[in-house]
Symmetry: C2
Subunit: 475 residues, 2 copies
């Protein structure tokens, strides 16, 4: 175990050095979150398929419980139960558009995680930094449970629990608990807990901040030496055992007799109670489905929970989103780490094409109905809360300068904001195969049906206990 | 699948070329034995541990259901459900003794299988060819189910079902069904079915040949286009499903609450009914234990079956041996692929320190008792058969020139034969950890407790369907 604990020290000191202006010791926050016996016990796995270039390279690392697809290079890192895909990386020969310029992708892109400590973190998509087209780099960084690194190269960063960095390049930043950033590029900044910040060059700037005391007392707090606490953690921890079985069995039987055409259920997803899925539905790894109904082309992305709910079709349920006791119309989008907690007697109903912003908390004490074509953000417990936490997309489209509603402030072109969002939702559905007609429109739901998952484990004893051997897997 | 079937053709044409003087097409024998869907369905696995150097390299191969330990390099080969270990290979710095000379091992030895097609074959131990100290090479060769390649580098060979090549270097040879060879070196020879031939330089030469018609009609026949047939095959096939579960579950619970000190049960062994194992017992992968009692230091090696039997202690049950309804005294040795089929009302009893030669068939129609300190060979169905198929070791020790008993002929020094055999049995027990006292005498039973097994799978679709990616795993 000696080598592993040396590695841990080395990573922490590197992250701390990058973040030295903030005088933080990330070790105080993270050491307790990676129990040494778990690092030895859990296996990692990687997928082999013919639909995307693969190349896996792992050295001097622990990968406990993590999953890899595509091209991933992991050196001197500890990845504990992370979801790291590489099947959306750019491929040699593609053309990347940025503003009015085009850039040629000269080689297959790779996710490279170096000198980093990621805990239950999702790493996904591809580098949106046009300066590093072929490299999605995560270096000298640390992240806490249920953080999302989505299309975001980061160096010297510390991501607190349930934070999301989306399509953003970060240098030496600290991202607070339950903060969502989609801002292009940031460096040497501390962002407090509970911010939702979306900025698109000079086009628009959306921001909202969750009331700090509510967040900390009820939903999620992160305390040095004690870890992450609150309802978000309890919710995930309570369901942890349901995932265990998936890791015990090599080839699980499908939870339903016939998978509808174009649909796929990942073998590392949980299926409880009686669920219905329609054609072109995608259920990703570590998605959790319980007594729910998913219409055509709906997707349930990594780490999402959908229970006692009905999703009419073409729904996006983003990474880490939770949906309990809800009826969502067609094309309703539920963003990253949104937490919708209806109850049997206090359900949520959402009309077609509404957008639930990332990191929205809807924790109901009475039934709530959100009309179609609305933007929804922030913190909602009652119908009356909608007033300060939603608006019709049509109204938003007309905004040209700025608007402030409660704790939300929007500046710039509302029309551009709505348009960018709609395009992105369409793109996500397309990429996931929601529109597959049997011939064209193939996406993850279709290609994901034919992956073989392979298991790798660390040294069980000796000095290298807990470290994985050097592994290189090429086509 | 195209690449895989090209590979199959290429291997077969190479083996045929090496064996061209015999005008044989090994494809006629082997193609039907490797169903293409199995090649895609079964996963292979390798073990990671800290007790022995590891290095795995797999390229352009199918490895379905095969197992690897230590240092193994597999190129352009199809290995179907093979047991290939590498944990007994020589290690850099060791000294190898041959006659009165010593040779230094200059680098860690590697098993290298190239351009070969092995089906349900065991490859084991280390190269006993002192001319290639660091390389245990298997090239341009093909083998049929339940063949054993034990410490034997082979090039251009065809091993028929249940044949064993033990501590022997072979070039361009065909080894008949159920033939056992331990003869040092052979080239360009066809050995008929059912031979048991042990030759030690000028010291001694033991040979026995099974009656061909009995072997073919009752026990094992190998027919082009039809494969292997007979009681040996039926026996193994009947128990195939018992192994299936082992491959379905990632971490099986131990079949007993407390494993006695120094003992180990491989997770890929089958455990049926109520078994007892004592300290320092080794149960290897793909060993099959059913309602049996194993005394201190007994070992059950790969592919052996032990049912309704009692083994008093320090027993060696070699690879592929079958023991049903037998009571074996202390230090009884049962050689490779021996087939002991007692019945509840026709049991076999063997006294202490007797040696059942490799490839002995004991298929009882009445109870049979073999005294202690006897050598046993050939084909036994009744007590009276012992006359022509056994002799006291003491009597054998006194032979100085030659003796013929029934179909067995012995030439040379009986004393040397007995001495060499006893030393080998002692060495096997030692290597397997039978004499471990808690501190010294550590062997496979002790080191095997801490291996982590890792799963690898082939491409599930596309041109490369059934082929494994290029995999390289180093410490």
């Amino acid at each position: 175990m000696k080598k592993l604990s040396n590695l841990m020290d080395r990573i922490i000191s590197r992250v701390n050095f990058n973040l030295r202006i903030f005088s933080i010791d990330v070790g105080d926050y993270l050491r307790g979150l990676v129990p040494e016996n778990q690092l030895v016990k859990f296996y990692a796995f990687y997928g082999i398929w013919s639909n995307h270039p693969i190349h896996f390279h792992f050295s001097n690392s622990n990968l406990a419980g993590s999953c890899f697809l595509g091209r991933c290079k992991i050196d001197n890192s500890i990845l504990y139960k992370c979801d790291i895909r590489g099947d959306e990386l750019k491929v040699k020969g593609e053309v990347f558009h940025v503003d009015d310029k085009t850039l040629n992708v000269e080689e297959d892109e790779v996710i490279w995680i170096k000198d980093s400590l990621l805990v239950k973190t999702l790493v996904h998509n591809y580098s949106h930094n046009p300066e590093k087209l072929e490299l999605f780099l995560i270096k000298n960084s640390a992240s806490a449970p249920y953080a999302n690194i989505h299309g975001s190269p980061i160096e010297g960063c510390f991501l607190e629990p349930f934070s999301t960095v989306d399509l953003t390049t970060l240098h030496d930043c600290r991202v607070g608990t339950y903060t969502y950033l989609q801002v292009g590029e940031l460096s040497h900044i501390e962002v407090d807990a509970g911010w939702v910040w979306i900025r698109n060059k000079n086009l628009f700037d959306f921001n909202y901040n969750h009331p700090e005391d509510v967040l900390r007392k009820r939903y999620i707090a992160f305390v040095p030496g004690k870890g992450a606490m609150g309802m978000f953690m309890d919710f995930a921890e309570d369901r942890k055992m349901d995932f265990q079985r998936l890791y015990d069995v090599v080839n699980l039987e499908s939870p339903i007799k016939e998978i509808p055409p174009g649909a796929s259920i990942n073998r590392y997803s949980v299926w409880k109670g009686k669920n219905h899925i329609s054609r072109n539905v995608l259920v990703s790894q570590r998605a959790y489905l319980e007594s729910s109904w998913l219409g055509e082309g709906a997707n349930a992305q990594e780490n999402c929970y959908i229970s006692f709910s009905r999703l009419e079709g073409f729904n996006v349920t983003a990474h880490g989103a939770t949906i309990i006791y809800a009826t969502l119309g067609r094309k309703v989008f539920v963003g990253f780490n949104s937490f919708i907690l209806g109850k049997a007697d206090c359900p949520l109903t959402v009309g077609n094409e509404s957008i639930i912003m990332p990191h929205t908390i809807i924790d109901l004490v009475e039934p709530v109905t959100i009309p179609g074509n609305h933007l929804v953000w922030g913190y909602i417990r009652r119908q009356a809360d909608l007033e300060e936490h939603s608006m019709p997309l049509e109204r938003l489209s007309k905004i040209k300068d700025q608007i402030t509603i409660g704790r939300m402030r929007f500046r710039g072109s509302g029309d551009a904001f709505v348009e960018v969002f709609r395009q992105r939702i369409h793109h996500i559905l397309e990429a996931n195969g929601a529109f597959f007609d049997g011939e064209t429109g193939r996406g993850h739901a279709q290609t994901g049906q034919t992956i073989s998952f392979n298991i790798i484990q660390p040294y069980p004893t000796g000095e290298a206990r807990g470290l994985y051997p050097t592994i290189d897997i090429e086509p």
